[in-house]
Symmetry: C2
Subunit: 431 residues, 2 copies
Amino acid sequence: MAASSYTPANPESVFTYGAPQLKFGPGASDEIGYDLAQTGAERVLVVTDPGVAATGHPQRVADQMTAFGIEARVFDGAHVEPTDESMRHAVEWAREHGPWDAIVAVGGGSSIDTAKAVNLLTTNPGDLMDYINKPVGEGRAPVNPLHPLVAVPTTTGTGAESTTICVLDVLALKVKTGISHVRLRPTLAVVDPVLTRSQPAGVTAAAGMDILCHALESYTARPYTSYERKRPEQRVPYNGANPIGDMWSEKAMSLLAGSFRRSVHDGSDEAARTEMAMAATFAGLGFGNAGVHIPHANAYPIAGRVKGFHPDGYPADEPMIPHGMSVALTAPEAFRFTFDADPERHLRAARLLDPQAEQTRDPAEFLPAVLAALMRDIGIPGGIGAVGYDEGDVPDLVEGTMKQQRLLATAPRDVTEEDVAGIYTRSLSLW
Amino acid sequence: MAASSYTPANPESVFTYGAPQLKFGPGASDEIGYDLAQTGAERVLVVTDPGVAATGHPQRVADQMTAFGIEARVFDGAHVEPTDESMRHAVEWAREHGPWDAIVAVGGGSSIDTAKAVNLLTTNPGDLMDYINKPVGEGRAPVNPLHPLVAVPTTTGTGAESTTICVLDVLALKVKTGISHVRLRPTLAVVDPVLTRSQPAGVTAAAGMDILCHALESYTARPYTSYERKRPEQRVPYNGANPIGDMWSEKAMSLLAGSFRRSVHDGSDEAARTEMAMAATFAGLGFGNAGVHIPHANAYPIAGRVKGFHPDGYPADEPMIPHGMSVALTAPEAFRFTFDADPERHLRAARLLDPQAEQTRDPAEFLPAVLAALMRDIGIPGGIGAVGYDEGDVPDLVEGTMKQQRLLATAPRDVTEEDVAGIYTRSLSLW
């Protein structure tokens, strides 16, 4: 296990690994009716958002279930970037039209996370706020088992099909937070690359950077052995870097090396799309048990304080910085900052992501250089300056990052306000 | 995906992946009481065999549960190499002393497989024979869900903690067969390397060859894309070689390269034991979704027709050829036979297993040479001649192998009686 600046008195010796069952490949989404019939399900709720509903995939999945004697209804009111309000609306609808035996989410992370909340609150009593992480909510654990949840991602990025968390904005408090419990994890992930065919190049680029950062952040996370030994009741799904998370991350990075540029530049390249879907799944299976750190912590304020930026390939009706883009913008500088915690691991990651890249004279520059070259090639903006921030915004962004202590605690080094300010400042213009 | 001699008209495009949740590391077995309390369990059955019971681990696991309000009872009557008789005895005992809320298996593959049968038949009606694979049994699927099953392996080899099958001898028919259903898979695997400390060198060697063959056979198995497209109800847990199985297999082989010889030659090498436990788990997670082929098919008659062989490190009361040894004895020749189906993959496997080995002039010899060198170093007999078979036994062994069509169907080439006879004849004396 990697070197670390942490020296626990009684080091952790145990790590855990959990994952949904998986069905992967073109055509996999045609079999959901059969799979759910095996659980005895008779009434199934399909959760999606209006954009994905317009592709027809959610209704096709619902229709296909009737052959197995299942009555399926589509709820297409999931909000892209869910809020407490949008999730409560989904829960109320589901409670009113239930009971359900199983839930299917068809969509990106927003639909899958909304389905997790619906599953929780149609099987357990109370309100959203009872389960939201402390200090925003009560942080209660579910008392009842949840229904089977099938997650069918339609973007190649999120990883939400593998994770135990659902993320939402609490509007009144202007804070992004979540519900985190092992029972929220989908029971089955159905990854059908055919469903990602309609993804525009800009979405492939941004979502692909989310995949890449899932893999890189969990690969460079604080090793599980650098924590103090936990009691069983203290364990959380995010262990820090561990041998299984490392394996998924390495494989995801190799897949990205072969297919990321191709899938952005030629959306009709089926082989590249399938490899990107596989990379997304693998990275999800890794970070869901390891964790993410600085780039994801920075992504919250970068996306949340958006001014007037409108990215290619996304709906033009409101300004937004897509999640994967907001993660990517500070990644080169974040990994320059973490380099010293484990130089060998940073160099190996750079070589996995670009086996042809020439090593830089200063080894600490190698991974940042590989990332910047990739971001340029696939059309990611060249820093937070390019999406509308300037030096005067840095203190505000830093404040937003420092609220994400759950993520910063997974970084392989202690992270101070000054450190984060330096990362933001150097990320104003990356090239 | 690899080259193959199969050319399906409508190739499979989908593979599945399933696994238990995992808790890995020294001390992991101290937390089972907590983990089961989370499922609401109040009465738990611990299944083990007399040899493992004598180490005290099963009783310790049972005692530790009382702190969580769980009443746990140990059944130590699992038979090493379970039979229909031994499994029926276990089931009767469990039905008589139940009901149970959960089952814990502490031991090798025999205890874990016995626990799978007990779990099935304390949650579902009928007799063992109703569920045993056709044509020996009725091949029925369970109608009810099973209890949570925690598998705690005490040997580094079996992989039974990851798989959906339980293997047994049906005494009246003198045939080894099994029950195979996805619900048999343990819900949680607790892999605690501390429990393998008492394993003698001979057991580490034989069980390690089982790990190695799990990895190698699933890595060289017929690729999932070489099958005809299945309908969902035709899918089985064993997909053939697939990207996820490959990843686990490659990682398991790398771990074996670093620790197999060390763990046999120095049983007190904790780091090597931990890596062997990890290799066993990883190989199990791979082959449980890919499958095994010729060496495992040959292992059934090799072990089943044992004459007078007594291996080091095993009980001396009856002759036996340990499972891992019986798998290993024809492996070099089996992989010489499969070489042409995918030369690149066989060469890569040889390099993973021994990065220092010098490549042979004939590439088809490389993997067999690496395997034979390893087997010599760790004290595996030099062929089926060394465990008591001679040329006159070959037809009988071939007949036994040909009964394992379920396994032979996973081989990357068609396998005839003549092919198998050639493999056995050349395996009489390997060096």
